[in-house]
């Protein structure tokens, strides 16, 4: 592709816009035309490709980090309240 043509395609949507749409794009919450613009832009713009990849990495890390199980300090009281529920008149 000629440089000029290439510039035009990349300019169809700015990097700033691609960055702002990154999460919606990753979650497939963009219209067909916008999706095409972003896909074409990503194919030619290393900066945006890197950015979108990083957002996906962040999403995956948060998911992995969240594998936390936490128990309330007053679980005993909660269980008691739960048991008492059935014993109410």
């Amino acid at each position: 592709m000629a440089q000029e043509e290439r510039d035009q395609v990349v300019a169809e949507i700015t990097c700033h816009e691609v960055a702002q749409w990154a999460s919606a794009y990753l979650e497939e919450h963009v219209g067909d035309e916008r999706k095409r613009q972003i896909a074409v832009h990503l194919a030619m713009c290393a900066g945006c490709e890197t950015y979108v990849k990083q957002i996906a990495t962040v999403r995956d890390m948060i998911r992995q980090l969240s594998q936390v199980e936490d128990v309330p300090s007053n679980m005993g009281r909660l269980r008691q309240a739960f048991v008492d529920r059935l014993n109410r008149p």
Binding site: V10, A11, T14, C15, H16, E17, A19, Q20, A22, S23, A24, E27, H29, C45, A46, G47, C48, T50, Y51, K53, Q54, I55, T57, V58, R59, D60, M61, I62, R63, Q64, L65, S66, Q67, V68, E69, D70, V71, P72, S73, N74, M75, L78, R79, A81, F82, V83, R85, L86
Partner: protein, 239 residues
């Protein structure tokens, strides 16, 4: 009485890299399984209740923290939420999922408590904040390449989520970034990326549009991305 308290014998912890292969229990909380769980709860199945609490507690605490002053108050709000769940079980009509209902109660209580603590000023001022993702100076402000990267992000190379999370320092940086998010962004991040709630259900819980959801989700992820970027830059050997 169900005496199996196994989920409760585990203490709360962030799993470290050594045992991250273990996946947390996937509690069926949606659709038909919701009915099964609800039936067990209504019958007074303590094990079912303990599982429910264990499964959602940490997300509820983190969400509450986005609205109130400290962990202590957040614990109180979550405690009140569970009490409301217990007393409301018989009245719950199942028009939403159990999870939507529980998180809805939490958000209502946390916001209410936050307003009473007069923290709402912070949030309303945030609502008016600009739409900028990250640092606008990273993009050309004028000229032919306006809106295009002036300072493109540096690739994280072969940094997979697993490799980054193997560092406790990175884990801490990410957790700090999440903790410091304003409530409106934190709610979305916790529901979508932590709890894995579908977009539609998350919108229902938060009473926002899907477009709004993605805007907030992205701002939240961007803040975490910046924290990781800073962490990784600090890991680079000095040139």
């Amino acid at each position: 009485m169900n005496v199996d308290a196994s989920p409760l014998t585990k203490s709360a912890r962030y799993r470290n890299s050594a045992d991250r292969t273990a996946v947390s229990c996937q509690l069926p909380t949606e659709g038909k399984s919701d009915n099964v769980l609800l039936a067990r709860l209504r019958q007074g199945d303590e094990g079912a209740f303990a599982e429910l609490v264990t499964h959602h507690h940490s997300a509820l605490i983190r969400m509450a923290m986005g609205h109130v002053a400290n962990r202590e108050v957040a614990e109180e709000v979550v405690q009140e939420t569970w009490m409301a769940v217990i007393t409301g079980l018989d009245r719950f009509e199942g028009r939403s999922s159990l999870r939507t209902w529980i998180f809805g109660i939490l958000i209502h209580k946390a916001k209410d408590r936050g307003v009473r603590e007069k923290r709402h000023v912070t949030f309303s001022s945030f609502e008016g904040a600009s739409d900028e993702v990250g640092d606008p100076s990273r993009f050309h402000q004028s000229g032919k390449w306006v809106g295009h990267w002036a300072l493109p992000p540096q690739p994280w190379d072969d940094q997979t989520p697993e490799k980054i999370l193997a560092s406790q320092q990175a884990v801490n940086a990410i957790n700090r970034a999440i903790e410091s998010l304003p409530g409106t962004l934190k709610n979305v991040l916790i529901l979508r990326d932590v709890e894995g709630v579908e977009a539609k259900e998350a919108c229902e819980i938060l009473k926002i549009t899907e477009t709004n959801l993605y805007v907030r989700l992205h701002r939240a992820r961007e803040r975490v991305r910046q924290a990781v970027e800073v962490y990784l830059a600090g890991q680079q050997p000095a040139l």
